[in-house]
C-alpha cells in the first residue's frame, strides 16, 4: 500500500513551513531513517527522515514551495512490490488529517525528540489546517488582522462555522490568550496566537513614499516574519526597564589568556578557546543563581520561578538572527559553554538548529562589542524576563583611589520585564554579574 509523506510538524506550534529541498528523486529507494527532504521553518532548516521504506513514487509538493501546511501530503512512497509509476498523486485533503496525525508525529519525533507537544499547543491546532482559507466575515478578518490574531486558531460561531465579529472579540479578550501556554524551562515556548500588533501604515502607504523602481522588493522569509512578530509583540506587551553598569575586564582578560594558554591539545588543536562572551554567559547564569528572584518568566496567572539558568545567546546570521540556548549554563564549565556555542554558531549559520535548541530559555545575552558598540539596550525575547546587552571592552580612564587610571571597561545594559523583575532586583542581578566579571576566578569553582 502506498504511504503518504506528510508535511511534518517540527515543533508543537508549527503550522506551515517551506519545502526547501528534496534530497531524493522520484524513483529513489528509501530506507527508514533516510533524510528525504529539507524543510525551512521560522528559524531553521530541518531534515525530514523517512519512517517507511519503499520507493519515492511521487513528489507532490515540489521543492521551493513556501507555506506548506502541516499534514499536507508532500510525497508518496510505494511499498514493496508496488508499481511506483502507477501511483498517482492523491488529491490534497483526500486523506483525513486525523487518521494521519500519528504518522506526522512519528516524523516529528524522529527529527525533534525533545519537542514534547504542549497540550495547550495541540488544542490550538488550527481547525482549518490543510491550507484552506479561513471562513470568516470581512469584519472578522479585519479585526483579527488588527489584533494580530491568527484566524485559523479561532473557532467560528456563525453559520457553517463562519468566524464572525464576536468570535474575534472573544479571542481577543481571552480565548486567544489561552493558546499561549505558560512557558516552562526546557519546554519550547508555544508561539502565542494572540500577539496584539497595532496596525502600522499599510504596505501601499509605505510604498507611495518612494518612487516606483527606486527600490527592490524582497519578500520576507520565515525568519524575518518571526523576528518582526516576536519583537513587536515583546515591545508592545512587555514593559521594558533598563539598568546599565560598567564592568572592569582586566582580571577576566588575564584569566582568559591563562586558561586558553593552558588548553590541552586535542587532535592537534587546543581543546577549547574561550571568548569573553563565553565568560559573560557563565557569569550571567551564576548571577541568576545568586539572585534567583530574577530568574523568572511572567505569566498572567503566576510567576514562573525557574530552577535552571538557561541562557539564550543571540547569534547574528545572514538574513536575521537566532538565539540558541545554553541550558543550565551555571553548571557547565567554561570550556563546555565555549564548545557548545561554537557548535551552535556554526549550525545557526546553516539554519540547522532544532526548535528545542532555540526555544525557551530564561534569559539572553546579546553582544555587539565586536562592532565597537559601547552600550545599547536589547529587546526582551519572551518568555525571558531579562536580556543583557553587552558592549565592547575598551580601555577607559577610570578613577581609582582618587587618581586617574587606565582600565579595560565593558558597559552592559540589562533590559528587564518590569512585571517580573523590578528595577532594584535588576540592579541586584547586575551587581552579582559585575562581581563575577571583575572577580572571574569565582566562575571556576
Amino acid at each position: 500500500m502506498p504511504t503518504n509523506i506528510l508535511m511534518p510538524a517540527l515543533s508543537p506550534t508549527m503550522e506551515k513551513g517551506n519545502l526547501a529541498k528534496w534530497l531524493k528523486k522520484e524513483g529513489d529507494t528509501i530506507k527508514s531513517g533516510d533524510i528525504i527532504a529539507e524543510i525551512e521553518t521560522d528559524k531553521a532548516t530541518m531534515e525530514v527522515e523517512a519512517v517507511d521504506e519503499g520507493v519515492l513514487a511521487k513528489i507532490v509538493v515540489p521543492e521551493g514551495t513556501a507555506d506548506v501546511a502541516v499534514n499536507e501530503i508532500i510525497g508518496v512512497i510505494a511499498g514493496e512490490g508496488e508499481d511506483a509509476k502507477s501511483i498517482s498523486a492523491p488529491a490534497a485533503g483526500a486523506v483525513p488529517a486525523k487518521a494521519e496525525a500519528p504518522k506526522a508525529e512519528a516524523l516529528a519525533s524522529a527529527t525533534a525528540p525533545a519537542a514534547a507537544p504542549a497540550p495547550a499547543a495541540s488544542s490550538a491546532a488550527p481547525a482549518h489546517s490543510g491550507g484552506s482559507r479561513a471562513f470568516a466575515s470581512p469584519l472578522a478578518r479585519r479585526l483579527a488582522r488588527e489584533a494580530g490574531l491568527d484566524l485559523s486558531a479561532i473557532k467560528g460561531s456563525g453559520p457553517h462555522g463562519r468566524i464572525v465579529e464576536k468570535d474575534v472579540e472573544a479571542a481577543r479578550k481571552g480565548g486567544g490568550a489561552k493558546a499561549a501556554p505558560a512557558a516552562a524551562p526546557g519546554v519550547p515556548a508555544a508561539k502565542p496566537t494572540a500577539a496584539p500588533i497595532a496596525a502600522g501604515p499599510s504596505d501601499e502607504a509605505v510604498k507611495k513614499l518612494f518612487e516606483p523602481g527606486s527600490y527592490e522588493e524582497i519578500p520576507h522569509d520565515g525568519m524575518r516574519k518571526t523576528i518582526a512578530r516576536r519583537l513587536t509583540e515583546a515591545k508592545q506587551t512587555i514593559p521594558h526597564f533598563y539598568v546599565t553598569v560598567d564592568c572592569e575586564l582586566d582580571a577576566l582578560l588575564k584569566l582568559r589568556a591563562e586558561l586558553n594558554a593552558a588548553a590541552p591539545e586535542k587532535d592537534g588543536k587546543p581543546a577549547y578557546k574561550l571568548s569573553v562572551n563565553d565568560m559573560v554567559i557563565k557569569a550571567l547564569a551564576l548571577a541568576l543563581k545568586a539572585v534567583p528572584d530574577a530568574n523568572v518568566s511572567w505569566t498572567d496567572s503566576a510567576m514562573l520561578k525557574h530552577k535552571h539558568a538557561d541562557v539564550g545567546v543571540a547569534v547574528s546570521i545572514p538574513g536575521g538572527l537566532i538565539t540558541p540556548i545554553v541550558r543550565d549554563a551555571c553548571h557547565k564549565t567554561l570550556s563546555q559553554i565555549s564548545n557548545e556555542m561554537k557548535d551552535y554558531a556554526a549550525r545557526a549559520k546553516a539554519r540547522k538548529l532544532k526548535p528545542e535548541e532555540y526555544q525557551g530559555g530564561t534569559t539572553a545575552v546579546s553582544n555587539l562589542g565586536m562592532f565597537g558598540v559601547k552600550d545599547f539596550a536589547a529587546v526582551i525575547n519572551p518568555p525571558h524576563a531579562t536580556i543583557l546587552a553587552v558592549g565592547a571592552g575598551e580601555q577607559r580612564v577610570v578613577v581609582k583611589s582618587g587618581q586617574p587610571a587606565v582600565a579595560t571597561v565593558m558597559s552592559v545594559t540589562l533590559s528587564t520585564d518590569h512585571r517580573a523583575v523590578d528595577g532594584a532586583l535588576g540592579a541586584e542581578l547586575l551587581q552579582a554579574f559585575k562581581g563575577y566579571i571583575e572577580k572571574p576566578m569565582a566562575m571556576l569553582v
Partner: protein, 479 residues
Amino acid sequence: MADYDIIVIGSGPGGYIAAIRAAQLGFKTAIVEREHLAGICSNWGCIPTKALLRSAEILHYGEHAKDYGLVLEGSFKADLEAVVKRSRGIAVRMNNGVQFLMKKNKVDVIWGEAKLTKPGTIAVAPTKKPAMQPQGPIPKGAKGEGTYTADHIIVATGARPRALPGIEPDGKLIWTYFESLVPAKLPKSLLVMGSGAIGIEFASFYRTLGVEVTVVELLPQILPVEDAEIAAFARKAFEKQGIKILTGAKVTKVEKGADSVTAHVEDEKGGKQTITADRLISAVGVVGNIENIGLEALGVKTDRGCIVIDEFCRTNVKGVYAIGDVAGPPMLAHKAEHEAVICVEAIKGLHPHPMDKSMIPGCTYCHPQIASVGLTEAKAKAAGHEIKVGRFNFVANGKAVALGEDSGLAKTIFDAKTGKLLGAHMVGPEVTELIQGFVVAMNLETTEEELMHTIFPHPTLSEVMKESVLDAYGKVLNA
C-alpha cells in the same frame, strides 16, 4: 399523550409562520385564532395600509401627470369607498392565503379564545371580543371550543393599540388604526396623535387625499426611532405637502363635539393651544395582548406589558414560549416571523442562531418613504463609537431624477476604527425596497471596503447607497 406536539396561540405573522415551520419539522401542530387568520398585519396593519397608500400614490401621480408630459382628461379623484374596498379585498386575500397554508401543512385551526389552564393545556372558549367589521368567515373545518393539550405552547397573541387615559378611542370620533383603515367618508380635518410609523402613514395617506392633517408628537422629533437628520428631512417634506407638525407637544385633554374633537395641546414651554378636527387618530403605540390567556396562573413572567423570553423565545415556564409583539419590542412583523422560526427550530433541537436585534430593519411607507437598520448617529455616538458618516442626496442620482422623485437622503454610519457598518438610514423613493442591501451587508459583517467593491447597477436608485458609503470615506463621486 398530548393532542399536539405544538399549539400556537394567535395566527399573525409570528404565529402562522411558527405553525408552518413546526409542521415542516414533523410536529403535530394546531393554531388557535379568535378573529382573523393572518393577524393584524394582513387584516388591519401592514398590508391593507400599503393598499391604501398605493391608491394615494397613484392619485398623487395622476395629479402630477403634467410633470411627466401626460394629459389626464375628465375627472380624476379618489373614490373612497372603492379605495377601502380594494384594501379590504387584499386583506381577505392574505387571510385566505394563510387558511390555504394551514390546510396545506396540515395544521389544525382551532377557532376561539385560548387560555392556558395548566402546563401543556389550553381551554378554548368562543370569542368574546366583538369582531372588527368587515369580518371574514370562520375557516371551514376549524375546531371549536374545548380543552387541548400540547407539549409545547407558543404564545403569539400580538398587540393592540395603546389607549391614553381620557383619550380612549371610541371608534367614532377617536380612531385607532382599525377605523382609520375603513373610513366611511373622508374627514375634512384630522389630528394624528403620535408620529411613529402608524401615525405618519395615516397622516401621509389622508393628506394625499386632501385632508387637513395635524400631527402631534410628544418627543422633540417625528419618527422618534429614526435618525434625527432623516426625520428632519422627512418633516420638511411632509410640511411641504401641507401636513402641520407639532413636536414636543402633548395632548392633555380631548373634548368631543357632535362631529368633531377639540384637543388641548401643550408644548414643552407650557404654551397651550386647542386644535379642533373632525377626527383624531390615536397612534401612540401598541401594547402586548397578555391579558386573559392564563399567564398569571402559570406564573409566566411579564415585564412592562410583554412576556419575558430568552434568546430562543422560551419563557420562564417550561413548555411555554412567546414570539412576536407579545414578546416585546421592536413590534414588527418581520421580527415576529424570525422569532417564530428560531423558537420552533430550537424546540426541534436544531440549534438556530439567536436573533440579533441590532440588525432588524424598520420601514415607514409614507411619501417619501423611510427605511433604516442599525444605530442612528446619536445612538452610535452614545454607544462610544468613533464614527464616520456618509451622506448622499437623491438629487444627484440619475434614476431618481428620471423618475421625478429626486428628493431623498441616504446616510451611512461606520465605526471609524473597524469599518463596521453600524447603521444605514434613508428617506426617499422606494427606500423600503433598498434597505435590504444594507441589511444583508450588515449580516455578512461587511466593512466599507466590500461595499465600495460592490458594483451597484446603473441607473438605479440603489446607487445612492454606494455613494453614501463612498462619502463616509471622502470618496464620493457624484457630489
